[in-house]
Symmetry: C2
Subunit: 244 residues, 2 copies
């Protein structure tokens, strides 16, 4: 059974303020929960409608389908909801390739970008304070477990970049063609807000402006979505590291 107090607590975790206050976040669905159980993340509580987890090792709270409906933030909840502790984020060392996000607001975009970092072996993802919280349930849902393999920190992005010693890249509509550009093994690549791109303040620190050229002929074409731009940027940086 789930008490009223527990429902209130779980619901409160839909808000960043309470996640930060309590140091907790939720994960839903068997597959996602198993990913987090097999990781460094510490389990706080696990609610499930079926005893599918190894009960000798993991304390679970059995609940009804009806109770699950009361605590889920999904339209179609799937069997279980877990609460995990938010780990302290490691200090970003800044070696290797670092992706930096300047006010990315859409949870689906952030989730996709985290997965891309995981795929392309980017260990550090640095986010401006106004970037959507990576423990937002929609982000957690979209990352499919990559969240535990990428070190994500929220920082004063201007200060972070200003004190960085290496090269700083950013994506723009009017920069150098990325396909011809010299791209090193390490550096920071900044991607900007969905509507406004990279802010002026951050732009003042950007060493090299990169552009993914448009091949279609229409002037009306919308610029690439930030998650797709990240996919192409990472693809370009990484392919230069392999012999062709």
């Amino acid at each position: 059974m789930v008490t009223k107090q527990e429902i209130k607590l779980i619901k409160s975790l839909n808000q960043k303020k309470y996640r930060q206050q309590l140091g907790l976040f939720t994960v839903e669905g068997i597959k996602g929960i198993e990913e987090f159980l097999n990781s460094e993340f510490k389990l706080h509580r696990l609610y499930t409608t079926k005893q599918i987890f190894n009960a000798s090792k993991i304390d679970t709270i059995e609940i009804s389908e009806n109770d699950l409906k009361k605590i889920t933030s999904l339209k179609n909840p799937n069997t279980a909801l877990a609460i995990f502790e938010i780990p302290k984020s490691l200090k970003t060392e800044g070696d290797g390739l670092v992706i930096a996000l300047d006010d990315v607001r859409d949870p689906g975009n952030l989730g996709t970008i985290i997965r891309l970092c995981d795929w392309y072996g980017v260990k550090n993802l640095v986010c401006s304070q106004n970037t959507v919280d990576c423990y937002n349930s929609k982000v957690v849902q979209a990352t499919m477990g990559s969240l535990k393999r990428v070190n994500i920190s929220y920082v004063d992005l201007f200060e972070f970049i200003e004190s960085y010693k290496g090269e700083v890249f950013g994506t723009y509509m009017n920069g150098q063609n990325i396909y011809n550009a010299d791209l090193p093994n390490e550096g920071i690549v900044v991607l900007g807000n969905e509507a406004n791109g990279i802010s002026e303040k951050i732009s003042s620190l950007i060493y090299k402006k990169l552009t993914i050229p448009q091949f279609g002929q229409s002037e009306d074409t919308e610029s690439l979505n930030v998650a797709n731009a990240t996919a192409i940027v990472l693809s370009e940086f990484r392919r230069r590291t392999i012999e062709t």
Copy 2:
């Protein structure tokens, strides 16, 4: 005002069956509607809460905010809803680079792929019959107008590929590294279903299997989302066409 009959008709357009029967689809929001008004698409009806469109040229039906709520399929409707006629899809000529989708089910993925085709100048997108309908309102919303610049056809994908004379590529987990592969200016590239990839039947027709290599070290990493895979595949095919 909107009559009950009109509400019923508009609501019915949320279903593919009725869109096909009636040959109509909906577009919501001022920006999206303007994109479609400035195109070959024929307007059927335009409902709006404010007279923002050029009334001397376009017949609009003024409605209340309350009426808009009755006909919208969005959580936060934006000023206007238009019904357009679905055009007859052109026969796919099959020259140039063609993207083919084998049962892509997610509207957001299809919308993103249409935008990518627009950006990378891919004129023809061919979909299996089970791929999500491109006039689904979520797809229309996600394409941001690219829908009118890419010729999309729903075909028997096996027959289409079998009768195609050029080279046929597909993305797999165990194919040739795409960064080293010879990629021509034209051909078909097949991308598969979100959960199952390319079906066995279609695979039997695929000339060259391509893989986007993983750079991260974890075996648990989920494969790339089909929209991101499309972004990287198009980036690779197109960059080969420019001098470096």
